[in-house]
Symmetry: C3
Subunit: 268 residues, 3 copies
């Protein structure tokens, strides 16, 4: 497994897939920088006259509902419909779903187009699956990722999407398989948008390897969480962590990757 | 005083209040990171179908007119009206008021809903109070904060808002009391959005302590300006200051806070 | 030449020109910080009710089509028309032109108002000149800047704009003159928005020196690329480069500037 994850990481650097992002205002800069640091090529575009053109040009589309409004929702729906129609991989990041009816309705509209991958924290995945009526606490999670496994499995069965629940343990669910990743560091939660960055990286990896979104998702999550774990050691707080994380996404070595990877596969 | 300020800072870290921001595109990332570093939990939302829901869910709403347009103005008005109606604390940051008629009209519309706290630089507070017809120089201030005290007092009397004029000296005005804070460093002006960050932090503090917005505002301003002052010493320029400031918001100690605080209370 | 470039840099710090930006969401924070670090004063504004007022107030307007939509295109057209009408310098950054018909149509609409300066990478300048039908690879360039010189000259003759093709060599074209700048470092391409930052800085310099946009453009490009080149040496990757670059824009010395400048003038 570790070899195929590292290969995926190298393959993104080599191919530099173009990743189309319809994402929120808060994280656009971070996610663009994280994609560049990992070797991918980001483009942000949401205008109705061009959004489906961008889906067609790019290797994958990432849709993140963090700062949606009616115009952006229409952009997202058009993009998801196009991706579904032309069989382009796309990633859904349902930021803050559960917090308002508008977010719930938007997420439901997008789910129809069967995302290739869904990534959220436990509260979001549970809200998305309607398994829980628990109140989402804004964009942060009040649940452990492992609490959301049943919801993730239900979503996977319903939509066919690979589902990633990120948290202290990142759980990636597909069919009867799970990957549990135990990398990362709690300080990463004090940096805004690292969940959104995870989704963007998944977009790059799944765009580069559309035939295996399960491994692509695991590779993206492993890259980010290991880079964050190492970067944290050099960081006095969340400000320097954000900076050091970009550096480490850029210069992570195979040795560091293999040394830090804490991954468990669960089948059946 | 210093004890109650430090207590406020600890109380935010403990409660992690959810802070709703309708703010400008330039600073969304910074302000989200500053809120997280201080222990609060940020959410950015402006869509008409959800903006009043967000006001209701959150501890406080921060409205910043930095990059407004007609849709966003309507979001701001709906949010301010809702906050006023359900008695939720809200903060107004009238960025660039005085520069255009559109900003003046928007600020006037929002003032009707009596912000809990208003924070601006001297030029903005003077423009807001119509005390001065001086031309605002964009988003930077051409006036000393102490020149705007009369304007701040007039605004406080008219709206009931605690008014904070930030500058080399931060002046906080309420009824017959003033707090003058002499912390911070001039290099902070070379980092974009630290005024907006101040307003966001005030939102966290006033959301956490709605019964005393005067102290809440002083605590937020003291935290930011002391963190900036200390961070500056480790910084080669504005780039590293932005990073070190987030670290210091996160790891400021009581000893550092007490050692650096330069505060004067003026009554009557 | 080097003396007049350094003079321009000092003159921006002294005058602190107000620069109006209609730019993309991804880079607003970076470009505002870069303008501040270089001594200019940024303002971002796009609302129809105020956008022409901002053009009138500011020293220059920078229009960047990175994340355009119909509303923003109208803002851009209004701003360009106003700048042209009142003879204010304005800069066009045609991000991603060539990628979609919408971007091509928007760029064509804006060209009518004859930008003072156009800055793009080789692919963008070639797409803009219609010289090439090559597919733009998103916002990154697949061409060397020197391949775009004929396109830049054609644009210069047609619109009267100074044209800057940025890349490993930055080529600045006006009438029968060219300046070739060989500063910078490849790692700068892994930081999002440094092209947009270049355009914003050109705005500051041309706003400050509207009578010589050729020299103003060269000064802005030399400042950024030399600052990036020096900052890169202290950087472990693109995260720290972004930070160190802002510091170096702020504290670059005359000695450093003269020592690093690699500039060639070509006439006739």
């Amino acid at each position: 497994m570790k070899e195929s994850l590292w290969e995926s990481i190298q393959f993104v650097k080599k191919n530099s897939p173009l990743v189309h992002n319809i994402t929120n205002y808060v994280v656009m800069n971070n996610t663009a920088n994280a994609l560049l640091a990992a070797g991918a090529s980001p483009i942000m575009a949401h205008a109705h006259p061009e959004v489906t053109d961008m889906v067609a040009i790019c290797s994958a589309t990432v849709i993140n509902i963090g700062t949606l409004d009616e115009y952006w929702v229409e952009s997202m729906v058009q993009a998801a419909a196009k991706a579904s129609q032309i069989n382009k991989p796309w990633v859904l990041d349902p930021v803050g779903v559960g917090a308002t009816n508008f977010r719930n309705a938007t997420a439901a509209q997008l789910l129809v187009f069967k995302p290739t991958v869904i990534r959220g924290n436990a509260s979001e995945i549970m809200a998305l699956a309607n398994v829980s009526l628990s109140k989402t606490k804004g964009v942060d999670s009040v649940h452990q990722s492992t609490e959301a496994i049943a919801a993730a499995q239900w979503l996977n069965q319903t939509t066919g999407s690979v589902v990633c629940v990120s948290g202290a343990v990142d759980v990636i669910v597909n069919d009867n398989s799970q990957i549990h990743l135990k990398n990362g560091h709690p300080l990463m939660q004090q940096v805004t948008g690292l969940g959104c960055t995870a989704s963007a990286l998944i977009g790059a990896f799944v765009g580069n390897n559309p035939s295996d979104p399960f491994i692509a998702t695991a590779a993206a999550m492993a890259l980010l969480s290991i880079a964050g774990e190492i970067a944290q050691r050099q960081s006095a707080g969340p400000g320097s962590l954000q900076v050091n994380l970009l550096d480490k996404l850029y210069n992570l070595t195979q040795e560091e990757f293999y040394h830090h990877l804490k991954l468990e596969e669960i089948n059946g």
